[in-house]
Symmetry: C2
Subunit: 229 residues, 2 copies
DNA sequence: AATATAGTGTGTATTTTTTACACTAAGTAA
DNA sequence: TTACTTAGTGTAAAAAATACACACTATATT
């Protein structure tokens, strides 16, 4: 988002693609703009980088202001700076993606005045986006597709305790293809970063699945080894 | 590089890690600063982004000013913006790497006044670098290590016609490990992006090797398929 | 002409990884 | 007790990765 346009040569902002998973769908958080340009359009949340904060801090602040969440996994992935990308002047923006597990829509905080509303929208049915935000989103999705194959980031979209089926579901949604159940389980277990718990899924009307947890200590020991899907 | 510091809230620059290969070693281009801060230190070449140029254009211009070269493969890879990274104020910098084949040091142009000299230095013996440029370089090397495994970028470091041994040499230098000759050739040929020429290496005092060329058309046909080393 | 030198170019067997594929077990609800 | 729904498991075949050594060829040297 780039509403504040002081008369400087250039403005430096951060835009965020916040991916959320509610157990069913992969969604991103969009805000409906209440100001020109692109009034009434949907846009990625973003803001100007403060003068005393690091880039990562700035991204975390933007996310916090919108969702009230802290400690979320975020990663910088690309800078967009075409001279024409903002109709009112030069705005260079740095894109971050974040991965968030959604427990209902309660995560949403009141939103600042420049937005009418903020909403989690499924990535399978996104509206037209303001500015070059479609490009920013596309590149973000591409990045997490690539990264989920090599880094243990899928867990960031799930609750602390999860079933293997849920984990597979995340992979399938991000990669955009179905995976074989037996092969998936074989592989994910062979990485040795999961801890099997003495606990079962609850509240389901069928056989309850075993719960697992991502084991950071085991993962730390693998340092250097490549994970690959 | 960040010499110009107008009294703005923040300054936005680009720094470049220019990787060059001379047939023997992998080198990067560094400049020796002639101004405070970090006077007499070696630093990555860089400059302020102009108000009417895109980020890629800006990076290309910086490279051109220093080397006289155009049409070089460059890629943006990370933004560095810690509040303390520049002693005189807030400077956010976007890092690019470039891959260049060196044909002797003739590529070097006269250098602007803020630098005493510019030099290609082997990456195996780099001096201490100004600002946070060591961090920027480290991340750049990491990036090309990763990218050379999946994208056909090694050719950018070689002349148009090259031998398989030269190509292997590039991979070994970038990856920092030796590769098996037979397996390397088997694999690289199986990708199907090389065109074998009716031409041999010249001027060597031993059996001349066959020359190859990177075949962009064949590569275009592979779109979507993953290359992997 | 013979020899030394230095890098080119090639094949196969073994191991590891990836893929394809289908049924039984367990728990809940009616 | 039966129907329903998802959990959980193994094996065989194919593909990919690895390990490994020697003969060939062009030139330079004597």
């Amino acid at each position: 988002m780039e509403q504040i346009l002081p008369h400087l040569d250039s403005v430096f902002s951060i835009d965020c693609v916040l991916f959320g998973f509610d157990g069913k769908e992969l969604k991103i958080l969009l805000i409906e703009r209440n100001e020109e340009p692109f009034k009434d359009w949907w846009a990625l949340p973003g803001n100007i980088v403060g003068s005393d904060e690091s880039l990562d801090q700035s991204a975390a602040r933007i996310l916090y202001e919108l969702t009230g969440l802290r400690g979320i996994y975020m990663e910088q992935y690309y800078a967009f700076g075409d001279p024409g990308r903002h109709p009112q002047g030069r705005v260079i923006t740095l894109a971050y993606y974040a991965l968030i597990r959604l427990g209902g829509d309660k995560d949403l905080r009141p939103v600042s005045t420049y937005a009418k509303q903020a909403n989690w929208l499924p990535i399978t049915a996104l509206p037209k986006l303001a500015f070059d935000h479609q490009k920013i989103y596309d590149k973000g999705l591409e990045k997490i597709k690539r990264r989920i194959k090599h880094q243990p980031i899928a867990f960031e979209l799930l609750p602390e305790k999860f079933t293997l089926t849920q984990l597979q579901h995340v992979y399938e949604l991000v990669l955009g293809k179905t995976l074989d159940k037996r092969n998936f389980r074989k592989k994910i277990v062979s990485f040795g970063v999961l801890k099997e718990l003495d606990e079962k899924q609850k509240g389901v009307s069928y056989r309850a699945a075993t719960l697992y947890r991502f084991d950071k200590r085991k993962y730390a020991k693998l340092f250097g080894k490549e994970i690959s899907f």
